[in-house]
């Protein structure tokens, strides 16, 4: 039997060689150059997945902890749980609301509506006096990156900006999409039929989150691979945003 599977294979390409990103850098241009050198250039239909950390760095979404005076709440919490009170204070400042504050963990809703640990404030660089915030508008950031990467030959291009979030009922974190441009974050199979002829109903897949997770498989947090290109994924053109992935407050059964 011939093997059509390789033609239909989805390929996840790590993009290496991106320099260390500093505030004010033209990330979109740097990405264009690095992707061209690292993957022999973008192809029509590609999806570029970018970890939010380099977007935030380029945009200056950083906080110098030496400028932070912790509140009483931050100090008490930090004392109780062995945390850096200045980091805790930044979390409190970034949060729209606190969802859970328990056992040393803070789960908060960010200004964008993301419910995640520390409202998305990244203090993973232990010993550093700097924390990285989420991009202010991940969808706008994705759109800007896409604008710099599209061309006459590459007009169909998706861009996804990611972060890694925990889940309320599952251990470990996974990469998900916080910003999306050039594509719908969903694949909607409702009204279609499965091979047995039956109509599929509740089948709206958050493919942007799956693409984010797939990209992480080549990013390996400890390697300098903050960008990946996903090639040959069969997606239909559409529109949407990372904010479309956020469940509206009125449908949230786990506030």
């Amino acid at each position: 039997m011939t093997s059509p599977s390789h033609d239909n294979a989805v390929v996840i390409l790590p993009v290496t060689g991106l320099p260390e990103i500093e505030p004010g850098d033209d990330l979109a241009t740097l990405l264009g150059t690095t992707i061209a050198e690292s993957t022999s250039g973008l192809q029509d239909g590609d999806i570029v997945v970018v970890t939010h950390k380099i977007v935030s760095k380029a945009e200056g979404q950083l906080v110098d902890l030496t400028t932070i005076t912790p509140s009483d709440l931050a100090n008490r919490w930090a004392d109780a749980w062995g945390k850096d009170a200045r980091q805790v204070e930044v979390v409190l400042q970034q949060a729209k609301r606190i969802v859970r504050m328990h056992n040393g963990l803070i789960i908060a809703e960010s200004q964008h509506g993301f419910i995640c640990a520390n409202a998305g404030v990244d203090a993973s660089n232990s010993g550093s006096d700097q924390v990285v915030l989420l991009p202010q508008d991940p969808d706008a950031s994705a759109t800007a990156i896409r604008g710099a990467l599209i061309s006459l030959t590459v007009s169909r291009l998706g861009v996804i900006i990611t972060d890694s979030f925990g889940r309320p009922w599952r251990n470990g974190i996974v990469n998900i999409a916080i910003g999306v441009a050039g594509m719908s974050p969903f694949a909607d199979y409702r009204g279609q039929h499965d091979p047995s002829g039956y109509e599929l109903r509740a089948s709206v897949l958050a493919v942007a989150d799956e693409l984010a997770g797939a990209a992480e498989l080549v990013m390996h947090k400890v390697a300098r691979v903050p960008v990946a290109v996903i090639r040959n994924y069969q997606w239909t053109s559409g529109e949407g945003s990372g904010s479309d992935l956020v469940m509206p407050e009125e449908r949230n059964l786990f506030k």
Copy 2:
């Protein structure tokens, strides 16, 4: 600059040609044959991702709705929300506990501890008198499949059995891992350092869930592609199970 990225690319191969699966089928053997024909054979280090539906079918984890007498609760709920009362009854029977019953939705904890819509009971074949349950022991099923696929040349092999779950704060469903064999479901970067030299802390990635989502990118619910092979993903040998991904009850802040 030379392009090492293609050597480091992760490839997601759809496996086509699997026949319709019936109760009692030797799924592991059928998978072995189909994978061999469809992908030119497994390679050491591959990860085989299987949608739970064919596992459940082979194992007879099916319920004939014509045998179900709905309870009063099932009837009332079905009347209120336009559901099939027999399907609702099966959900109630499969649940360890009901987590939310609201606005036509039932979120329940399955016997395995999975918190998901309808306790994992699949009634997506509308108009059919049959519903598909989760495999009774997805980890055992994954282990059995792996046992049939390993060989002298393919000793390092991961097997993941998947389902698609919704998330409490994000729209859409994503493929996740319910059964795992031959590998740890996590990649643990704690104690390691990122490129800037800083130590990473809260970085336990649920890679089995990311692999499940990646596989779905070639499965496309409406195509007959219930199996994928993920090749060249750099994973370190380890042990673990799908149940390791389930957050213990005592740490669940969103009961």
